[in-house]
């Protein structure tokens, strides 16, 4: 079972108290973008087996959005961090590196 800690209210709960909100740190392309950009924004997702970054919402709780870094295979959670964050914090990236040297996810490593 996936156990997450909400950085907004501090609750550590199991996944049914939360709602998954898709891939994290997506750059949005809207009006004015070309077809390739819009296509990649809408459809081209990482979907990895292993290290992944996602958005979650504490829907049966404080209601806030946040980010989570986890392993999609083992359900190990490397950390959660506020929604108002543009990239994974160094501390979390270091933690992943310790476990998975050489990991890469989009432009992050």
């Amino acid at each position: 079972m996936l156990i997450l800690t909400c950085p907004s209210c501090g609750v550590t709960g199991e996944e049914t108290e939360f709602h998954a909100g898709g891939e994290a740190h997506i750059k949005r392309f809207g009006p004015g973008s070309d077809d390739d950009q819009f296509h990649s924004y809408l459809f081209a997702k990482e979907n990895p087996k292993g290290v992944h970054f996602e958005r979650w919402r504490h829907n049966n709780g404080c209601g806030k959005w946040f980010h989570a870094a986890r392993d999609t295979m083992t359900l190990e959670v490397f950390g959660t961090y506020p929604a108002q964050t543009l990239e994974p914090p160094k501390q979390i990236r270091d933690k992943i590196t310790a476990k998975h040297p050489g990991w890469k996810w989009r432009e992050f490593s």
């Binding site: 907004s8 209210c9 501090g10 609750v11 709960g13 199991e14 049914t16 108290e17 829907n59 049966n60 709780g61 404080c62 209601g63 806030k64």
Partner: protein, 189 residues
Amino acid sequence: MSDAVSALNGATYNGFVTVTELGLRGMITLRGDLSSAGVKNAAIGVTGVDMPGQRQVHTVKESGLAWMSPDELLVMTPYAEVGDKLAQIDKLLKGKHYLAVNVSDARAMFRIEGAGVREVMAKLCPVDMAPDAFTPGVFRRTRMAQIPAAIWMPSDDAVQIICFRSVADYAFGLLKDAAEPGSEVGLFA
């Protein structure tokens, strides 16, 4: 004026704990900067209880303050006073960035009482109800079976539950079922 009644009009059930729908209760959602003096003064001023910390609740009789999220408090008052209390908040926070709404008729409140209350809640919520983990004063928003709920323990043998009014009957059914005589697990006995 219409004759206001609560969702289940004070329904009760006697299982291995007692389940009571508490009738009409005044509830105001107050959102704003909880660290600001203005919001704190308004919240404390209308309830007479201390400001709750993260995931905490303070109550005296039917009045109280519960921490809902980093920018939201639940202000509890007697039902008859909720209009006055809301006006008082609006006056105290005039010109400030805040939101205060009377949500009394959108909510239902239950109380369960008895030695087995921790077990009843543990059957319904993904929350550690062990005595050292969930203590009186803790306010927890969570999931009760399929509905959102907020729970706290006014004392060691009672739990109060707030849910949406529209699902009050479902909540009452859940609590009755979990409190049915003969279904004791004895987890925290």
